[in-house]
């Protein structure tokens, strides 16, 4: 393979001279990572730092009758042994609700369980010691008397009258319920030529970040200030929450986030053990470090999916989809996770199902119930993989039933490319999508007709290959409609500050964060282009609540679209400021000047007038030589929030080509394609890599990943040998294509690209497996992950 240095620019409107927008610029922070010189939270050591280990409940549900800690307190190296009741004196509990998810309820959750543990893995007692090993040794010496309580582990019976109520103060086990009824669903089904009904099951899985969750909290009693080194996606949100629950002011809390070893939505939530670690630092007045070990990660990192969806589609002989109907049930653990809540995934399933299609008749019910398993919350592509698999699974089953090609059935139902603005049956508003152009691009890119011919030829030889598709829509660039309107203190706006230093270089301080997606590269590209310097002269600063504008961080594919636009606007503002100074120095009108390649030039001729170094020298060291009344302002801040649309929807389509070994049930992935439309592409390579990485996480959900629990609420495979994730040898090469429909809500026009891969991959792998097995008369597989055992059962072989 040849590594290409650059990609041709796909941009037209942002045609600044020497623009980096649309170019595959390498990320500025990679060298320290390839050399092992990154700084992850788990690498951090501070003077006087202690380590905490938690004793965790071995039961899914149990009353804590007594905690005997005397022996542990005497153990070597132990500094403190702290129970939930003791820690509650320093830290207040929280409740994960949002008012716009009407009726959503949850009970107060403490940093360490008080009186009762509600899932296997909930922290029950903390041991702080000089080393982690000493803390773990002392954990063994703590005697806790539990009275085991009945565990609610099956969502299907969680609402039954005879099922115990997990949180008595709430009255029942229902966390949230949503119903939607659009159009005339019953009439539409009655008028259909064919109706397909099935049940889709989505395994409970988790993010498995290679670096486990980690936090180092440093309460300085002399400064009355808390500094938290935190592997988080949202430093300002965490600053707010640490302050709130420790009763501190924002200015007393600094959150620092440098390198983060994987996040994918796992690290954007409030974790009880991280909150406890911060509280412990305040309690014992010294730095405390907590790094989850892998077993702790599996039983406490948020889980996701675990939905059961009964679903139905109606279709006419001509391929017109008449109606969709779904009934979604999900069990989310004993608490709704704070502050984003655990109702969002089900809500997204209701919002997104049927989303690419014009069909106006849609009925949905979603119920979110409490269980005694680890908590569930938002993980990459929240709700999308479920909604897409349900919709696209139904579409391909309907196509098979009426004998129509699955791409053709889509062509007849997708929103037309000239139909925008448009609104889905669920009420989603689309500014501009490109379903048909994306589909046509995919059709050509994969040589669909050729693959169908190959498939037919090989079937005759007893080789069963399948082709599956998934059209999808993707929620990106969320406005305040996502969380803010529901009362959560999660900002949807973001800011960027650009500063010219005394040598004529610039720094960009951004409220978004970097967890590997390339946000810092995007900020550097945008700032360099807007302001007019070579990218080598841009330094990006993120992940520091003391030194970046207030921002939301990086989640829901917001960094490039929202943070990038703020950097673009700040770049333009700083350019104007600098040109005002240059105009005064050169006795020229600022509008006749521009900054190109680090030099002030004449707009018309491009002639060099003044290097930025010289301008900075005068402005900083000889301001006395500037005309009176001219004050150089060499720092500019701009903020941006989407206002015209609640979300910038993107769209795309994926295809999977695979082979099923009908004797072993193994699936071999041969190739995967994705065409997507994320608007303006700032860095083609980074977009493609987000797509590829996302697809592989989606493949994990389709084929491998599942948190297995027994009926008593014990997780059975909480380690990386038993919980399978995609490995290099099993993954296919993935080809990406793009259609570009910029959003008019921002000048940059960029939408997000982080969820698209994960949104569509499980659906199209499922459809490809069913396509491969259809001639064998197998019952369609709809229960993820599709393990060899399930495939052999579907074939009637076991």
């Amino acid at each position: 393979m040849k590594i290409t240095d650059d990609s041709p620019s796909v941009l037209t409107a942002l045609d600044r001279p020497n623009s980096y927008i649309g170019r595959s610029v390498p990320r500025p922070n990679l060298k320290r990572l390839t050399q092992g010189r990154g700084q992850y939270v788990s690498d951090i050591t501070l003077p006087r730092m202690a380590h905490v280990a938690y004793v965790r409940s071995p039961h899914a549900h149990a009353k804590i009758k007594s905690i005997k800690k005397a022996e542990a307190e005497k153990a070597p190296g132990v500094i403190a042994v702290v129970t939930g009741a003791e820690l509650a004196k320093v830290m207040t509990p929280w409740v994960g609700v949002l008012t716009h998810l009407k009726g959503l309820k949850s009970a107060p959750q403490h940093a360490i369980a008080v009186d009762r543990a509600c899932w296997q893995g909930e922290a029950v007692c903390a041991v702080v010691a000089r080393t982690r090993a000493q803390a773990e040794d002392a954990c063994e010496l703590i005697e806790i008397a539990y009275e085991e309580l009945p565990a609610v582990t099956d969502p299907e019976t969680a609402l039954d009258a005879k099922t115990p109520v997990i949180q008595p103060s709430l009255g029942d086990n229902l966390c949230f319920e949503r119903k939607l009824d659009a159009g005339k669903v019953d009439e539409a089904f009655a008028a259909s030529d064919a109706v397909v009904e099935t049940t889709f099951v989505f395994g409970r899985h988790t993010g498995v970040t290679t670096e486990p969750r980690a936090v180092v909290a440093d309460w300085n009693e002399g400064e009355q200030r808390m500094t938290v080194y935190h592997g988080t996606q949202a430093p300002h949100m965490m600053q707010d929450l640490f302050a709130k629950h420790l009763n501190l002011r924002h200015d007393q809390v600094r959150v620092l986030t440098k390198d983060v070893g994987g996040s994918f939505g796992i690290k954007v939530h409030t974790y009880a053990d991280e909150m406890a670690t911060v509280a412990l630092s305040k309690l014992i007045k010294r730095p405390v470090k907590f790094v989850a070990d892998r077993i702790e990660s599996f039983v406490t990192d948020i889980h996701a999916r675990d939905h059961r969806v009964r679903a139905k589609i109606g279709v006419k002989k001509d391929g017109t989809i008449t109606a969709f109907e779904i009934d979604d049930l999900t069990g989310i653990g004993p608490y709704s996770v704070y502050p984003r809540t655990s109702g969002i995934e089900a809500n997204q399933v209701v919002n997104l199902t049927g989303g690419p299609y014009t069909c106006p008749n849609y009925r949905a019910q979603a119920r979110v119930v409490f269980t005694n398993k680890n908590v569930m919350c938002q993980y990459r592509a929240v709700g999308h993989p479920i909604a897409v698999a349900v919709t696209e699974g139904l579409v391909e089953l309907a196509a098979a039933k009426i004998g129509m090609d699955p791409l053709e059935l889509r062509r007849r139902n997708l929103f037309a490319d000239d139909a925008y603005p448009a609104q889905s049956a669920a009420g989603l508003k689309f500014e501009k999508l490109s379903h048909h152009e994306s589909l046509a691009h995919l059709d050509a890119m994969m040589n669909y007709a050729g693959l169908r011919a190959e498939q037919k030829r090989l079937r005759a030889q007893g080789i069963y290959r399948g082709i599956g598709f998934a059209s999808f829509i993707e929620v990106t660039n969320p406005s305040a409609a996502f969380y803010g309107v529901g009362g959560a203190r999660i900002t949807s706006q973001d800011g960027a500050t650009l500063k010219l230093d005394a040598q004529g270089n610039i720094s960009v301080h951004s409220g978004v964060t970097e967890q590997g997606q390339g946000a810092e590269a995007v900020m550097a590209q945008v700032a360099a282009s807007a302001f007019g310097v070579p990218i080598e002269r841009v330094r990006v600063v993120t992940g520091d609540t003391d030194n970046t504008p207030y921002g939301g961080g990086t989640w829901a594919s917001r960094a490039a679209g929202i943070g990038g636009e703020a950097a673009w606007q700040a770049g333009k503002a700083l350019r104007d400021n600098v040109l005002a100074v240059a105009g005064a120095m050169l006795q020229a009108k600022p509008e006749t000047l521009d900054i190109r390649n680090g030099t002030v030039v004449d707009v018309a001729s491009g002639a060099e007038r003044l290097p930025l170094e010289e301008l900075a020298r005068v402005a900083y060291f000889r301001p006395d030589t500037l005309p009176s009344g001219v004050q150089a302002e060499l720092m500019a801040t701009r903020h941006y929030v989407p206002r015209a649309w609640p979300f910038a929807f993107t769209n795309g389509i994926q295809a999977s080509y695979l082979e099923v070994d009908i004797d072993t049930g193994f699936v071999k992935l041969l190739k995967h394609w994705c065409v997507e439309d994320c608007g303006t592409i700032i860095n083609p390579q980074l977009v493609d890599e987000q797509i590829r990485g996302g697809i592989v996480q989606g493949i994990g959900a389709a084929l491998f990943e599942q948190c297995l629990y027994d009926e008593r609420g014990q997780m059975l495979n909480g380690n990386m040998a038993d919980y399978l994730v995609p490995m290099a040898a099993e993954m296919p090469d993935i080809e990406c294509g793009h259609v570009v429909s910029p959003t008019a809500d921002s000048e940059l026009g960029a939408k997000g690209a982080g969820e698209a891969g994960t949104a569509g991959a499980p659906a199209c792998v499922m459809n490809a497996i069913n396509d491969a097995l259809r001639p064998l008369g197998a019952e369609p597989l709809t229960d993820m992950p599709f393990t060899p055992g399930k495939i052999l059962r579907a074939l009637g072989k076991v």
């Binding site: 050399q35 092992g36 990154g38 690498d43 994987g262 590829r692 380690n719 990386m720 290099a728 993954m731």
Partner: protein, 166 residues
């Protein structure tokens, strides 16, 4: 600790090191906590994910499956050492250019493992296929990239190095 600690002497990245370590300390914990060589990471802690991959006496090992005391007298090389000697400079450059890393947490282990494959390929005067690269890296989990960029980067270096021999 005194009754379970042992004295060890070893060479780490060309430096002679003599330390007293607890017998239960794993090699990767010793590197990170004892010597502040934080480039080797800890992921699964039971030999599955490969983020702790280092080289001991020329062979790649899991730093979480080997005890520090087993390394008495050994030569240990970590990502810091391989970076400073320039041995994998071309591989690092290819990873950076191809964006073969995102969060970068698995990257030191992957680079050490990939260099092992490339070294042996060079000795055998052959360029590994994409499938061989994928097989060789199957003990190193990456949750961000989907692996294709990593395979691309390793393949490009294998081809470039083969070109140099001719």
């Amino acid at each position: 600790m005194t009754d379970t600690a042992l004295d060890i002497s070893l060479t780490i990245n060309g430096e002679r090191v003599s330390e007293r370590v607890d017998a239960r300390t794993t090699l990767v914990d010793f590197l990170r906590d004892g010597l502040s060589l934080t480039g080797s990471h800890v992921g699964c802690e039971h030999g599955v994910c490969g983020v702790c991959t280092v080289r001991v006496n020329g062979d790649i090992v899991r730093g979480c499956l080997m005890l520090a005391v087993q390394c008495d007298g050994a030569t240990v090389e970590t990502i810091e050492g391989l970076s400073d000697t320039g041995e994998i400079a071309d591989l690092q450059a290819a990873f950076e250019q191809r964006n073969a890393l995102q969060c970068g947490y698995c990257t030191p282990g992957i680079l050490v493992a990939a260099q092992d494959l490339l070294k042996r390929a060079k000795e055998n005067e052959r360029v590994p296929s994409r499938n061989e690269i994928r097989e060789h890296l199957s003990g190193n989990y990456c949750r961000c990239t989907g692996y294709q960029a990593i395979v691309d980067a390793v393949e490009a270096v294998a081809q470039a190095r083969a070109g140099e021999t001719k």
